[in-house]
């Protein structure tokens, strides 16, 4: 099993969600996040004074899936979240040793 973590632009969240449900992903976890990459921060002006806001608002999406689904999931995220400009985000994949469904105590891929 794999865990796909993606950090994307906030306004792309719904498109990513639709793309993932269309390929049969049955659950995802979403967190509001802040960070910086190549896009960098931005300036805001209050009462004539400039303040640097170093971290940009992002959405962090986590999806657990089977090994076979990984490429499909990544394609769905990329096609839905891509705008082509800097700051579109990143996605990465990590191995998952074990998954448990709390309600039934099922283990392994059935718990996904």
């Amino acid at each position: 099993m794999k865990l796909v973590t993606a950090v994307v632009k906030p306004f792309k969240l719904d498109e990513v969600k639709v793309a993932l449900t269309n390929i049969g992903v049955s659950g995802m976890t979403v967190t509001q996040a802040r960070g910086f990459g190549r896009q960098g921060g931005h300036i805001e002006i209050y009462r004539g004074k400039e303040y640097e806001f170093d971290f940009v608002d992002k959405i962090r999406i986590e999806v657990a899936c089977t090994d076979e689904q990984v490429e499909q999931v990544l394609d769905a995220i990329v096609s839905a979240a891509r705008t082509g400009s800097v700051g579109d985000g990143k996605a990465w994949v990590t191995d998952v040793e074990k998954v448990v469904r709390v309600r039934t105590n099922e283990r392994g891929p059935e718990a996904l």
Partner: protein, 470 residues
């Protein structure tokens, strides 16, 4: 037909005047609570919201207690006459006597400020109306001091400053004192309130010292919607501020309200356009517009019912332009660059109040009759108007305005220095420690503006924090 004697108020009381005066006073009170509380709460960092709002509420309360015990009679009661009639010391202050008896509250209002025609409401009405003006003044200079002032110091500064600075300035300009007798005028407090608050802000901030550099670097506002609510209450509350100062629900009250609003609208637009075309970033900003609003409100205050509509437009235009340049350029020059006036009170209140006070001597239209009923042609008893250079071609009024401004600046600077130095001595300092300052509200009050929600539900009913919390 009912006999006249059945009317449940004395013959000198006019219910329309009394009603308007109480409504106007309430509008001015709303400018402090919640107006300034949420305006400041929105402008400070999140960690300072509770401390700032609490200082606003306590300042208002402290001033009212002082006002009842001695403030009102010190500022507006009969003059003490320390010197020969007509001299400065003769018209300096009133008496340290409380306003506490039934007769004192319910009798007809009398004030040295108005010897032309009698007031048509009771002393309680006048005392409350004058109180809300006194109360907002320390709350205005509080804006310069937030983010490091010790809470206990604030509790001492307010009563001392009201007594030593506000009551003296009010007696001299409004209570029939020396400058009032000489002919200087201040319609609703451009000098007594705003210029004085601006000077106290600057001097006070200089004595306390700057906020931590980390707090200055991160001084972005916590909530612009709260700023919008506070600013809106200030603007419309000013209808009572200036509309209440003819002391009659007559034609001049209406003129003062209309002039106040048009000067303010012009102030908003002037600052906005300056930001859009002359600032480095060339961006229209909401907080810039609010600064322009304050400039218009403050600058029209000394002249609201004495200028005509054209004059009011010029007041807003001139004041917002001058303060915009001061805000952006004067602030870089010593001593302004060296004093951490957190909210820029010295500009939007001090300089705007000074400009407005001087403009009375230029733009006041003698056709605007304060106590009259028929404008230019009213020459009856109680007719009062002010003539500026533009209409009279005389600099007399401007000179009187200039002298009064010098007094306000000088006395406020001296009085504020005395009060702050004394409190610093009494408490061993005016600042919270740097450790406390880095935490803010939680360290000082064990409260915060947005308490973090506790996830989940408690496991046991009795609180483990304190046995009384059942």
């Amino acid at each position: 037909m009912l006999a006249v004697t059945n009317i449940p108020y004395p013959s000198w009381l006019n219910p329309a005047d009394n009603t308007w005066q109480l409504v106007a006073a309430t509008l001015v009170g709303l400018m402090s609570l919640p107006g300034l509380a949420v305006l400041y709460g929105g402008l400070v960092r999140k960690k300072w919201i509770v401390n700032t709002m609490l200082m606003v509420f306590t300042g208002f309360s402290l001033t009212l207690v002082v006002w009842m015990l001695w403030g009102y009679n010190l500022a507006f009661g009969p003059q003490s006459h320390f010197g020969p009639t007509g001299s400065f010391w003769s018209g300096f202050i009133g008496h340290f006597t409380p306003l506490s008896t039934a007769g004192a509250e319910q009798g007809q209002a009398v004030s040295g400020a108005n010897t032309l025609i009698p007031f048509h409401f009771s002393t309680a009405t006048l005392a409350y109306f004058q109180f809300v003006f006194a109360a907002i003044t320390p709350l205005l200079f509080l804006g310069a001091l937030v983010g490091r002032l010790k809470f206990k110091a604030w509790l001492l500064i307010v009563p001392m400053w009201i007594t030593l600075v506000y009551c003296v300035n009010a007696a001299l300009l409004w209570g029939g004192g020396f400058f009032a007798q000489k002919g200087a005028v201040d319609y609703s407090g451009g000098y007594v309130i705003h210029l004085s608050a601006g000077v106290a802000a600057f001097v006070g901030a200089a004595i306390i010292g700057p906020r931590r550099w980390q707090d200055r670097e991160n001084a972005f506002p916590s909530n612009l919607m709260m700023v919008a609510i506070g600013a809106g209450i200030l603007w419309l509350g000013w209808n009572g501020f200036n509309g209440g100062d003819p002391f009659y629900a007559g034609a001049d009250a209406a003129s003062a309200v209309l002039n106040t609003n048009v000067a303010t609208a012009v102030g908003v637009l002037t600052w906005l356009l300056m930001d859009m075309f002359f600032s480095r970033q060339k961006k229209p900003t909401f907080l810039g517009a609010i600064n322009g609003m304050l400039c218009g409100l403050v600058a029209i205050t000394p002249s609201a019912g004495w200028v005509n509509g054209t004059g009011a437009i010029f007041v807003g235009l001139i004041a917002a332009t001058i303060v915009w340049f001061a805000w952006n350029y004067l602030s870089r020059i010593r001593p302004f660059s060296k004093v951490d006036d957190a909210m820029g009170v010295v500009y939007t209140h001090g300089i705007a109040g000074l400009v407005g006070g001087l403009l009375v001597g230029i733009l006041a239209d003698p056709g605007m009759v304060q106590y009259g009923v028929a404008g230019r042609h009213f020459k009856g008893a109680g007719s009062f108007s002010v003539g500026g250079w533009f209409y009279t071609h005389s600099f007399h009024q401007l000179w009187e305005q200039f002298l009064a401004a010098l007094w306000i600046i000088g006395w406020t600077a001296v009085g504020t220095t005395i009060v702050f130095t004394l409190v610093k001595f009494l408490l061993g300092g005016l600042r919270e420690s740097d450790e406390v300052l880095s935490l803010g509200d939680v360290a000082i009050h064990e409260e915060e503006a947005f308490p973090e929600p506790t996830f989940g539900e408690p496991l046991m009913t009795p609180s483990h924090i304190h046995p009384d919390n059942v």
